[in-house]
């Protein structure tokens, strides 16, 4: 046996050296740049989350405006928000990640990056470019962490109820203005075999929007801002319990949604609305483009949650994500100029007209081509469709909302809908999660 093994043919040491040499050469060649993606090291690396149409195309045009004016090439990477949250941290920490990253605002998101020293404070750049005079105060509040400005928010998002006026009129119903009218509207729509509100909470976020709409109406926009950003107040007050009760119990009982709403995803709910099966859809102004595209020729409007006990109707607003500069970027100056270019008049028009996105800066839209729905959404974003001090509020998932608090909202509201948890207990659990996350 031993003899057989000794003389059996096989790769010799020389063969092995040859193979090693070939492998080494291959590695060397790859290190010299073979296989590298376009853009490489000479471009400004920008990561954003605009993966869907029409935002994706609009953003490409905005970036192209900067490229043409500065001569700096942009190496753009797009990925969905969930993925960005997972990959962004590692990429920024490695030092080889993006120069500019479009990342979710808030303590549990960009706050983690800022605390780790991965983001560049923008106060100096803001002073240099005059951003503080442009960006609306609420948006600055979103992008500030511990008093420092870290991000440049570029879109004002408001959560709203989209309603198909054409379909509602055809069904012999009227758009509800008070919560009691809404309950009655739901009962009548259900009797006509129509889905009153297309809403599902299989995804983590739609219940945040719903809760934002309810709490802002009941507590008021200013109080919600104080709670979400400054921690003044609590989540287990009688008003908060009422907000939970009305939406996640009373509306469910009134037949406002389909059965099994815990298993309906947000995009599927939107599809139900776009296919004419539902009269309303709980969504946000980011969906204006898709709704216009999906319901051509139909009169569609947006509104905040109907008035509760005669109170103001408030649009919860937020900035979603903002542009941040990596602290490890060697192109800080170019990145600053890039950020400034996003607010230039020519870019603003592309954001609004084509991207259906409303940057949180003042601009004159006269002469721009905007649909009625876009104008309504723009009004909601700028002043809540009326008086900004009374009709514009804050989203509950922003500010100091920690990931644990967000998770407590999602799983808790799912449990309330199933009847496994009372609104009072959910309110207490939210308060506990809030305190734990501070």
């Amino acid at each position: 046996m031993n003899i057989g093994r000794r003389t059996a043919p096989g790769p010799s040491r020389r063969d092995f050296m040859r193979l090693s040499g070939a492998a080494g050469a291959a590695l060397g060649l790859s290190a010299c740049g073979f296989g590298r993606s376009d853009g490489g090291g000479s471009a400004l690396k920008v990561w954003d989350q605009f993966t869907t149409s029409p935002q994706n195309e609009a953003v490409r045009k905005v970036y192209d405006l900067y490229r043409r004016s500065s001569g700096v090439t942009i190496d753009r990477t797009t990925q969905p928000g969930d993925q960005m949250t997972t990959v962004g941290k590692t990429a920024l920490a490695s030092g080889t990640g993006p120069d500019v990253i479009y990342y979710e605002v808030g303590k549990g998101n960009a706050g983690v990056l800022a605390e780790a020293g991965l983001l560049l404070p923008l106060d100096d750049l803001a002073a240099e470019h005059g951003w503080l005079n442009k960006i609306t105060p609420f948006a600055q509040r979103e992008a500030r962490l511990d008093g420092k400005l870290y991000g440049l928010p570029n879109e004002t998002e408001t959560t709203a109820l989209f309603y198909n006026k054409t379909l509602i009129d055809k069904s012999g119903l009227t758009v509800p203005r008070t919560f009691d009218e809404l309950l009655s509207f739901c009962a009548k729509a259900k009797a006509k075999k129509l889905i009153p509100i297309a809403y599902g909470q299989a995804d983590v976020y739609p219940c945040w929007w719903a809760f934002s709409l309810m709490t802002n109406n009941i507590v008021g926009g200013r109080a919600m801002g104080d709670l979400v950003f400054d921690g003044k107040g609590s989540w287990n007050t009688p008003q908060m319990k009422q907000a939970i009760q009305l939406f996640f119990v009373d509306l469910v009982k009134a037949g406002a949604f389909i059965d099994g709403l815990n298993s309906l995803h947000g995009p599927d709910a939107q599809s139900m609305f776009l296919s004419g099966k539902a009269l309303m859809n709980l969504n946000g102004t980011w969906a204006v483009g898709a709704v216009e595209k999906g319901l051509p020729g139909q009169e569609v409007g947006i509104m905040p949650m109907p008035s509760i006990d005669g109170g103001d109707r408030v649009y919860p607003a937020g900035t979603g994500s903002a542009y941040y500069i990596s602290a490890k970027s060697k192109r800080g100056e170019e990145a600053g100029a890039f950020l400034d270019s996003l607010y230039q008049p020519e870019a603003l028009r592309v954001w609004v007209e084509q991207g259906k996105i409303f940057p949180p800066v003042p601009f004159d839209s006269s002469g721009w081509s905007l649909s009625p729905l876009q104008k309504q959404a723009l009004g909601a974003a700028q002043n809540g469709g009326g008086d900004a001090t009374r009709n514009l509020g804050y989203s509950v998932n922003h500010g100091k909302a920690s990931p644990g608090f967000l998770n407590a909202m999602t799983s808790g509201f799912q449990a309330v809908v199933q009847g496994r948890k009372t609104p009072a207990r959910q309110a207490d659990d939210l308060q506990k999660a809030w305190e734990k996350g501070r």
């Binding site: 092995f16 983690v112 020293g117 099994g260 709403l261 298993s263 309906l264 799983s411 799912q414």
Partner: protein
Amino acid sequence: MATTMIRSRPPLAGRSTAPAARRRPGDRRVSGYLFVLPALAVYALFILYPLVQSVYLSLTDWDGAKPHKTFIGLGNFDRLVHDTLFWRALWHNLIWVVLGTALAMAVSLLLAMLVWSRPRGFTVFRTVYFMPQILPAIIVGIVWSWIYSPAFGILDRGLSAVGLGSWSRGWLGDPDFALYAVLVASVWATIGLAFVIFTAALHNVDQDLLDAARVDGAGAWQRFRHVVVPQLSSAVTLVTVLLLVHGFQAFDHVWIMTKGGPDNSTQLLATYTYQKAFMENDVGYGAAISLVLTVLSLVVSLAVVRLRERGDR
């Protein structure tokens, strides 16, 4: 035998055997290590190093972004013991592993038995049964989400069509059913490999033994239980270990279909790990959960193999 082979083999052209004869034993050992080195390097880089890093991270409170990691000893494990959601996820994992393994084994073996005699259209059946295995998890997740959809799912529509409308529900939204609904989708996606392994193993079953059993009056079930199954023991062990490990690692279908909800009713250890480490920036704690998962997976797999070996003796 070896000698015969050497004599019958023609001498290699242009290669002298003299240097080999002069080679010292140490040279061969070095060559051996050099051949093993690339695989070892890959294994060390992609398996051992991350594992050691996970152990280290589990002893810290790292949030995934800070440059410094604070050492907290066994703090994460102490926290884990008192975490009710961790125990709930572990319980879900046990249900998943036991039920999922049993179901996948039974269905794949049944399918393999059905095509054992190579009926007409065998290739088509084999392809159809194996196809779910090659589908990406995202496709499986989306397709089954559609099947279960309360808005347009064919399951609820089918139930209504046959007069069982009262059974219809939002399968993935009902905490009492969601885990089992996702499990069914996952089993459907994993039976392909088990089916192929059983199909291959059935080809090696001794027909003479079967014929002898038949002559001795053994019924179909007795032939299956006492003649076929013992000859499939190696395949059964392999499939069991694969399914168990896969069961403990279950993540993708759950994440795509329910993200651990509703109300954490489909939360498994892997999804809980991901949620903690990447969504809640609690990487240290997530690493601790993942280590528990790794240890559980290893212990159960080793136990199954040992039991099988003991049974073979």
